[in-house]
Each structure stands twice: as structure tokens, then as C-alpha cells.
Amino acid sequence: MSLTDEQVCALEAKAEVIRETILRMLVEAKSGHTAGPLGMADIFAAFYFHILNHNPKLPSWEERDRLVLSNGHICPVLYAAMAHSGYFPIEECLTLRKFGSRLQGHPERLRLPGLETTSGPLGEGLSQAAGMAYAFRMDDKKQRVYCLMSDGEQEEGNIWEAAMFAGKYKLSNLIAVMDRNNIQIDGMTEDVMPLEPIADKYRAFNWHVLEVNGNDVRAFISAVDEAKAIYEKPTLIIAHTIPGKGVPEIEFDYRWHGKPPTQEEGKRFLKEIRTMSGKVPHEYA
């Protein structure tokens, strides 16, 4: 079922407010990661405002879909999407990384209802998502499990153990999304530790693999729809995203992986986002 233009515009507008909230959070927190959260804003808008079968007012509702964030360091985008969809007050976003906050520097399940797990140490989300998917299948439960992971964390061995497991048990209720933004802390992934041909690697592990522009909500949602129709295998969606997306002056720059904007940069970046008037410009997409 394809989206109407109005639906796409509405989701892009959500992505824009999520980006705005991310920048405000990071300026206030004075530490944290910028590039990844901005790059994933479109995908999080798609999940929290379209794809997920969830109820923000009832975060422990048993029949909900599960979204497991594996690369916990991009949690500003998760928190922003959760707040805007109604899990908690938007003002609370500004407590990110502060003492006593429910919004820990890396997400901690026991502190904030709606988080499906605790993450930060890389390479562990896919197996937890696979465990959930396996358990749901044992119990004939219909909900889906989504795992969002980074490209850099594919360097962890645990990921490939999980990929082998999910392939063996044909966990078709598991849909993984890889944020293929090509950057990690020490530089470009292909310089630090080449991942390519990453799609072939997952195919060799008996996964169905799709590639899509991760900053295009319409294309992303249609990929998720295709993944839902695959009954024989788990699916990996390789989402090509632009790190720092939405703030042209930092886009593609790996040096923005792990630092926040200063107050002045924050003001400037917010203006740049605002000038986008609800649309992700196609020259960057």
C-alpha cells in the first residue's frame, strides 16, 4: 500500500521536528553523538509515526511490535521520536545525559518505559531481537521485531553469530535495518575495516537483503512492506543514509560522529533545518 503525498509530507515534517529536538538536546547536554541521530531521523519518523504497531500511552502492551536499537549511541533520535509520538513530555528531552534523567547517555531499559533493551556496547541488538522473534514464533504471536543497527558495528563478531542464528531458524518476523552511513569514530568504514560486499555477506547467511535510500521515507516504508511479505527468511534493509542529514555543513563529515554542536553551532544548524520547510531536499537524498 503506497503512501499518499500528504502522508509523506507529514512524515517528513515529523523528521524535521525530530532533527530540531536532537539538536536542542545535544546543545543542552554538551556531549553525545550528532551525525548518526540526524541521519536516522527519517527512519525513526517512519517507525514511530507509521510502521510500528504500538501504543505510547501503554508502553508495556504485550502485542506491540518491538523496536530494538542496537547502536545505543544514536539514542537522541530514539528519545526524540518517542517524545514526539507521546511516550513522555517533549521538554524531558532536554534532560538527556544529565544526573537523574531517564534519558541516559546510552539507553537503559529499566529507566524509561518504552525502551525494549539497554544498548551501547555494539553488536548485541541483533541477537536480542532474534531472541524476541524466536520466542514470539514459539508462542504463535504475530508481532514483528525490528532491529536498528549501525554499519560500524558489523565489525563485531556477535553480529555474525546472530545473523547465522536468524538465518538457521528462518526468523521472518525479524526485520533488521542497517544505517549505512559509511562513517565510524576513526573514519570511513571502508578504511577502518571494509564491510563490503555487506549485502552479499548477509545473503550468504540466508537473509533477504534490500537496499534503499534511508533518507527517503516513502522508499523506506515500501522496503519494510516488502520485508513483511518475505516468509522464508529474516530481512535486512541496508538503509543508505547521510550522516548529519539536514544540516548541510556537517553532512558526510565523520568528525561529527561523536561530538555535539556548541551553542552557537546549534543556533546556526537549527536555522538551516528550519529553512528546509518540511521537505528533505532531493539534492541531498
Partner: protein
Amino acid sequence: MLNSDVKLSADIFADTLEKASTRDGFGKGAVEAGKNDLRIVVLCADLAESTRAEWFQKEFPERFVEMGVAEQNMATVAAGMAAAGKIPFITSYAAFNPGRNYEQIRTTIALNRMPVKICGMHAGVSVGPDGATHQMLEDIGLMRMLPGMTVIVPGDAEEARKAVIAAAKTDGPVYIRFGRTATPVFTTSATPFMIGKAIVLWKADKPKVAILSTGSLSYSALMAAQALSADGIESIVLHVPTVKPLDEEMVLDAARHVGCVVTVEEHQAAGGFGSAIAELLSQHHPVPMRLLGIADTFGQSGEPDQLLAHYGLDTLHIQAAARALIKSIG
């Protein structure tokens, strides 16, 4: 004298005393627990026979999950299954579970407070000929440091069976340590077992030394107490299967009542059971202590009894440590 209140085996000092491994206790306990609770699943990392996970597999094939040789994935998949309502038991040798997958246990099981039951098999030097790589001697220390982790080291196969059943009913993560070798089954089905409770195996009117022990070496401690008694040296033996949370009341009582303590464990003397006792006593009732354990070294190939004697953990060494401690305080 033997403490008759805890209903130990009638054959306790006889050659005919039954021997079984604590891993057999795991196999039995898992099957019993699995009958009572359909949420229980057993995950196995290519060691179904030697961990006795196979016993569960035969009864409940649909709740047995073969993970292959992938202990990190086993821990994290189990965390996910627990988040989806299951009570997973993850099984492998202690050297790999929790040795290999410690960070996965820390982040996805302990910090998430998931009810995953971590079963470390073939622990200690008594795994024997396999040698140092497989003789896990650091697991009690690793696991007792994790906030919220319960740590149980059963004394025999019967207590191991009860520990597995109790762990299944406990909220939160539990580590249970099992051995490979058949060791004396000194408790009976009537012997009390509760997580967090120690039991007195041997008591005396005017004890000179308290021997506190965990795991199957508690039987050696008991043999040592009997031999010391025959020599006119009275002692008490406190068997402490739950290393965390400690039965603080019983341990403090023993220290207050007796005045000096020997601890016994098949684990590094640093960071394990003896350290846990020392941490408690040094703050609340300091008494002279001897910590018997492996003295900052790795194991090696050999027969279990040979190795326990070599590393100073047999009955004779326990007696000697008790005598030396009594002598040192005059």
C-alpha cells in the same frame, strides 16, 4: 558432630555413599522445572550431552534451542527471549559462559535485569585432564561483582537439582556453577535448600575453628572436621551454597561464636567466596582467617583428586589450614 537437623545422607561416612556430578543435578532440575513452568527454555552451545542439557531436550524438544558454538549469541538471544516472556537457561562450560560472554551478560542480562539463568559447567580444576584453558577459576568473582546477580555453587547433585528449580522461580538473573566430576551426594531430598541460606553440616559445643565452604569441597571440609574431631580439635562446618546474596546472619554468627574462620573453594582465592566472607567479616566482625583457594595460578592437566591435592584443596590441606590458624592465634 554431624548436624542431624539438616538430614544429611545416612551413608555420609561410608564407602557406599553415592557419587554424582552437579551437572547431573542440573539435568534433573531442568526437567523438573520445565514440567512446572512452560516458560522455561534451555539454550545449548554445542555441548548438549556433557552439560546434560540433552536431558531437557529429550523431554521438551520444542523448548530446547541449539545455538551452535556461540556463547556470546547465546547470552544475548536469551536476553531477548526473556524480554519476550521466557525463562532461559543458558548452558556451556564456565570458561565460556560467563568467561567468553561476560560483557553480553553484564549489559543485556544484568543491567537489563532479565531472568536468564546462566549455567557454568565443568568449573574448577576438577574438570581434570582438559587443562588450564577449561578449568574456570574466576567465574564466582566475575559474577558476584555484577549488581543484582544471584550466585549459587551447589555442594552436590541433589542440591544442584534444587538450586535449578529455585533459580527458575527467582526473578532476575542467576549464575549457577556446576562441576563435571562425580562427587559425594551428602545431602538428601529432605535437606533444606533456599537461595541465600547456608546450612551447618558439622557442629560442636566448643569449636576452635569455623570452616566455611562452598561447592562440592564442602564434603572435604566435613571430612576434615571429622578427622580434626578425632584428634580432639572441635570445629563447625558451614556449607554456603549461595555466594550472593550471602547468608550474612549465619556467617556472622559463626565468626562471633567461634572466633576464627577458614574458607574453602575451588576457585581463585582472590575475588571469590573467601573474599566475599572476608568483605563481610572485616567490616562487621573481624576475625583471623585463612582463605583456601587457588593461589593466583592457572590449572593444568591431571586427575581431579590429584589436582585438588596439588593446589591444596583436599581434606588434608583443609585440616592443616585449620590447625595452623588455631595455632597462630594461640
